[in-house]
Amino acid sequence: MGIKYIFLVSRQGKLRLVKWYVTLPQKEKTKIVKEVSQLVLARRPKLCNFIEHKDTKVVYRKYASLYFVAGIDLDDNELITLEIIHRFVEVLDRYFGNVCELDLIFNFQKAYFVLDEMIMAGELQESSKKTVLRVMAQQDETEAAENAERGWGDI
């Protein structure tokens, strides 16, 4: 139960972010990512956002040039997963300010941090956008403060 993996893939098939919530050997992971991205990239726009792949359901959504893909169990609610993906994208949007794929490429760790705040162990742990953004802001402040101290030492 719960989300098994989340990954973001561009239209050209490049992986932008991947997070696994189940333990699998590395080769299995790359295989699954490859297969599922092929399935997702081949979908036409008017089809529904759920695909069945072996013993999991794949829920995906296309935002501009990026596909957000989540894999869930057979008995999970697909609609809510779609909603979780949407929430994540909204938070990213607020965090980066009108986010685009470039932001995610250059600030991939920040994207991971946001994802970690929202989803842990395959479950949504924080559905409030405000809280997530607040926590991220706090963390960023701390980091900036540290770097500022450090900055003087560099010169």
């Binding site: 561009s10 992986l15 296309k62 609610n77 779609l82 760790q109 742990q125 926590v135």
Partner: protein
């Protein structure tokens, strides 16, 4: 020093698209140097870069120790990078995880809540059994942390840890239950999520929580949590039927009032799957009428599969299929809507709709549904698919900088109505999903299933059914030959009335030269044609006999079929011929006599030509190629024709006895269909013991290789069955992990256990001499390919072998003794 930052790396990568692997190789070298530096900052930057490369597929396990170093940094930013790298690249057997234990423990007890939070995040990802066991108590203590933010994370982290360390569940569950009363809603929400997951595997433990959860269900308006609670109840109701009654109220309330599609879906799903619809209490729906709960669900489901949004359709159909299993009556009147779903371009939706449609077939609508499905198959007989998105690919850079969300994006949980999919729908030429072989196969199977369900309960007109089957032969487009032939046979044999019609149709099939000309043994039509031949032969008496049929059955392409199929055809030809003879004997006169003679001659010619192959073929080869069964049948046929020619050698006034009676060769008994369980019902006669041996015990004759007589028996390694089973498991497992291990003699059949003694090897003395010596030597070197193997083989030498069955001297026939082939 000019170390590249992360941004530089990424920019560099994008700039060097052509020589990417060189650039990456260079960067990896730089990173290797950087991680050795003592300055934590550079180390962490290096780890960040490595992380990025890992995402592109490059291994970063060599830097595991450095990652742990960075994790231990005092600075928050660096620590965060370290933990991130750890979660991305550590897996279950990373050895440096043990170093991390104390580190994580320190972080967990830190006063800075952010450090605690990243430690919890990281732990949830990388927990192994040892880590979980060691750190369980620490995290358990954090459950009482003053910040709800931390408490919430601790709950979820503990869940993950109990997956690896199940004993911890014991301590965790009581605390978890307390957390349900926590003042902070997000903590309660996580507690509920975790309970939902745990209850899935072990619902009984959480049953006492039901009252509390019920209270939450009624009082909360946090849709996320509600969904989890509803799902939780779905796993609880099977073990506690009284819950169903209690849930009835709130669930129906939710269903009627909620505007969130996902919640509605979850409620209906739970209601259907958890069997709450079987509760007979009525509900008042939105306009005040009192209706049955199940009807309410069905009514609401209609909104789903009738919507124009594909997601809702799909989801609605899934639940509808579930509902159909339990309450088929509710689904039947949705017939029209579902049929429309059959035309949906999405494959998933179509397959689901197909499932539902075939489930709702009754006597009245069977023909309609079948017609609809068949028209789909006919319309798209072309298999060629057109490619998808054909608009020109915009520049990658442009794409990447366009915003992800456009302002019209609507959220599901808070608003009713369909989900708006983001813009940029490409105008692609749509390939018809009915072209896909999976769909066609599914459609054909659905048609067949609908018709033959429950011994043809839905069938009113069998002739129509046979016609459908014949049509399917033409339009199916996929390999369903066996299926169709089986059904044809089934219908014809079991339903007397349709036999005549069936024979006519089979005749039509066989006269279709398109089908018969190019058929081979494994082509899809072969099975159908051979069944057609069988039916024609078996029931030829039902239709006026025609001597053309014989020509139909003795196909020139007969030899290309499999032996069973050929036999069917020849046998059918014999039956048809003798039947025709019998028929013709009824009105014997001189013309008929001429006719019989000429037909007999032509038949004899065709049979012999089948027997001897085409002109110019090597006679011996042609005959030798024939399967034995077919050869014998053809010989019989030739004899019959010879007999007939003898019998009609003189023109006589009355028909020869032979012609009249030949057909009785095949009509002594009527063949009835026999059920598969019939054999089991035959009682075993008295005194018949099916278990005891009839004669002497027969030794294992699977001997394929007789090794040359080995010298001193002490060196021989008798491997018995016991050894085999013991070693195969562990060794095979080892072997699987070693990619360079060749499959060796151990995988070939193990016949060594039943070696006859030296004296028992009969006449054939193989003069191998020194070859024998070298063979035994190579066998010995074969054995210890791995150290483990030699040890085990040594061990087994000392053990006394199990008593093997008595070895009977086997008489091996040498080449000289083989009978000559005539």
């Amino acid at each position: 020093m000019f170390e590249k930052t992360l941004t530089d790396l990424i920019q560099g990568l994008r700039a060097n698209k052509r020589n990417e692997s060189e650039y990456i190789g260079k960067s990896l070298e730089e990173i290797q140097n950087e991680v050795q530096l003592s300055d934590m900052h550079y180390k962490s930057v290096a780890i960040d870069k490595l992380n990025y490369l890992h995402m592109l597929g490059y291994d970063m396990n060599w830097a595991n120790f450095n990652v742990v170093e960075v994790m231990s940094s005092a600075k928050f930013g660096e620590k965060r990078s370290g933990y991130l790298a750890a979660t991305q690249s550590f897996n279950q057997d990373t050895d440096v995880l043990m170093l991390a234990t104390n580190l994580i423990r320190k972080d967990l007890s830190s006063s800075n809540f952010m450090e605690v939070s990243i430690a919890l995040d990281g732990l949830a990802q990388i927990a192994t059994a040892e880590l979980a066991m060691d750190l369980f108590d620490d995290v358990l203590a954090i459950l009482d942390h003053s910040r709800p933010y931390i408490r919430k994370k601790a709950i979820v982290c503990l869940y993950k840890m109990t997956l690896k360390h199940p004993e911890g569940l014991h301590d965790f569950v009581p605390q978890l239950k307390e957390r349900l009363d926590d003042p902070d809603p997000s903590v309660v929400s996580s507690a509920v999520s975790v309970i939902c997951e745990l209850a899935h595997t072990n619902p009984r433990n959480y049953l006492p929580l039901a009252p509390k959860l019920y209270h939450l269900l009624n009082s909360s308006n946090n849709n996320w949590m509600l969904i989890k609670i509803v799902k939780l109840f779905a796993s609880l109701t099977p073990i506690e039927p009284r819950l169903a009654k209690k849930l009835h109220g709130p669930l129906s309330n939710l269903i009627c009032t909620t505007t969130a599609m996902s919640l509605l879906y979850e409620c209906i799903n739970t209601a259907v799957v958890g069997d709450i619809i079987s509760v007979p209490l009525p509900v008042t729906d939105s306009i005040g009428r009192e209706i049955d709960f199940a009807e309410l669900c069905a009514h609401k489901l209609e909104v789903f599969y009738d919507s124009s949004d594909h997601n809702l359709r799909y989801v609605g159909l899934v639940t509808l299929a579930e509902l159909q299993v339990r309450r088929p009556d509710l689904v039947v009147n949705q017939y029209e809507t579902i049929l429309r779903c059959l035309d949906d371009p999405d494959m998933g939706i179509r397959m689901r709709a197909l499932q539902v449609v075939s489930g709702m077939a009754t006597r009245k609508n069977l023909t309609q549904i079948a017609k609809r499905l068949m028209s789909q198959l006919i319309l798209s007989h072309t298999i060629a698919l057109k490619p998808g998105n054909t608009d020109g690919e915009p520049d990658e850079g442009e794409l990447e900088s366009s915003p992800l969300i456009d302002p019209s994006g609507v959220s599901l949980v808070s608003a009713k109505g369909s989900f708006t999919t983001p813009k940029k729908a490409a105008n692609s030429s749509e390939p018809n999903p009915a072209d896909s072989p999976e769909y066609r196969l599914a459609a054909v199977e659905a048609i067949l299933d609908m018709c033959s369900r429950q011994s043809y309960a839905n069938m009113t007109n069998f002739e129509w059914y046979v016609a459908v089957l014949v049509d399917l032969v033409y339009i199916a487009g996929v390999d369903v030959g066996h299926l169709l032939s089986q059904r044809l046979l089934d219908a014809t044999v079991r339903v007397r009335q349709v036999r005549e019609y069936s024979v006519r149709m089979m005749r039509r099939l066989l006269s279709d030269s398109q089908l018969t000309e190019y058929v081979t043994g494994d082509s899809p039509n072969a099975a159908v044609l051979s069944t057609a031949a069988y039916i024609l032969g078996e029931y030829c008496a039902l239709v006026p006999a025609s001597c053309d049929d014989i020509g139909l059955l003795l196909l020139p392409s007969l030899r290309r079929l499999t032996s069973d199929q050929q036999a069917t055809f020849v046998l059918a030809a014999m039956k048809v011929y003798t039947n025709w003879l019998q028929d013709v004997s009824g009105y014997w006169n001189d013309e008929i006599w001429e006719l019989v003679r000429s037909t007999n001659t032509t038949t004899m010619d065709s049979v012999t030509s089948l027997f001897f192959g085409q002109e110019g073929d090597d006679l011996d080869m042609a005959v030798a190629e024939l399967p034995l069964q077919v050869e014998s049948l053809l010989r019989h046929f030739i004899e019959i024709t010879k007999a007939v020619s003898v019998a009609t050698s003189n023109m006589s006034a009355s028909e020869p006895l032979l012609c009249r009676e030949l057909h009785s060769l095949f009509t002594m008994y009527e063949l009835n269909p026999v059920s598969a369980a019939a054999q089991g019902k035959v009682p075993v006669p008295e005194g018949l013991d099916l278990e005891s041996w009839i004669g002497d015990e027969i030794p294992d004759t699977s001997l394929k290789v007789i090794p040359p007589p080995p010298p001193p028996p002490t060196q021989r390694h008798v491997r018995t069955a016991v050894d085999d089973t013991r070693t195969s498991g562990s060794r095979k497992a080892d072997r699987k992990n070693q990619p360079f291990y060749l499959e060796d003699a151990a995988d070939r059949p193990r016949n060594m256990g039943k070696l006859p003694d030296v004296e028992d090897i009969p006449v054939m003395q193989l003069d191998l001499g020194d070859l024998a010596m070298s063979q035994t030597k190579s066998r010995k070197s074969d054995k210890p390919k791995k150290k483990k193997k030699s040890k085990s083989s040594k061990r087994y030498k000392k053990r006394t072998p199990e008593p093997s069955p008595p070895i009977v001297p086997v008489d091996i026939v040498g080449d000289e003794d083989m009978p000559d082939i005539p």
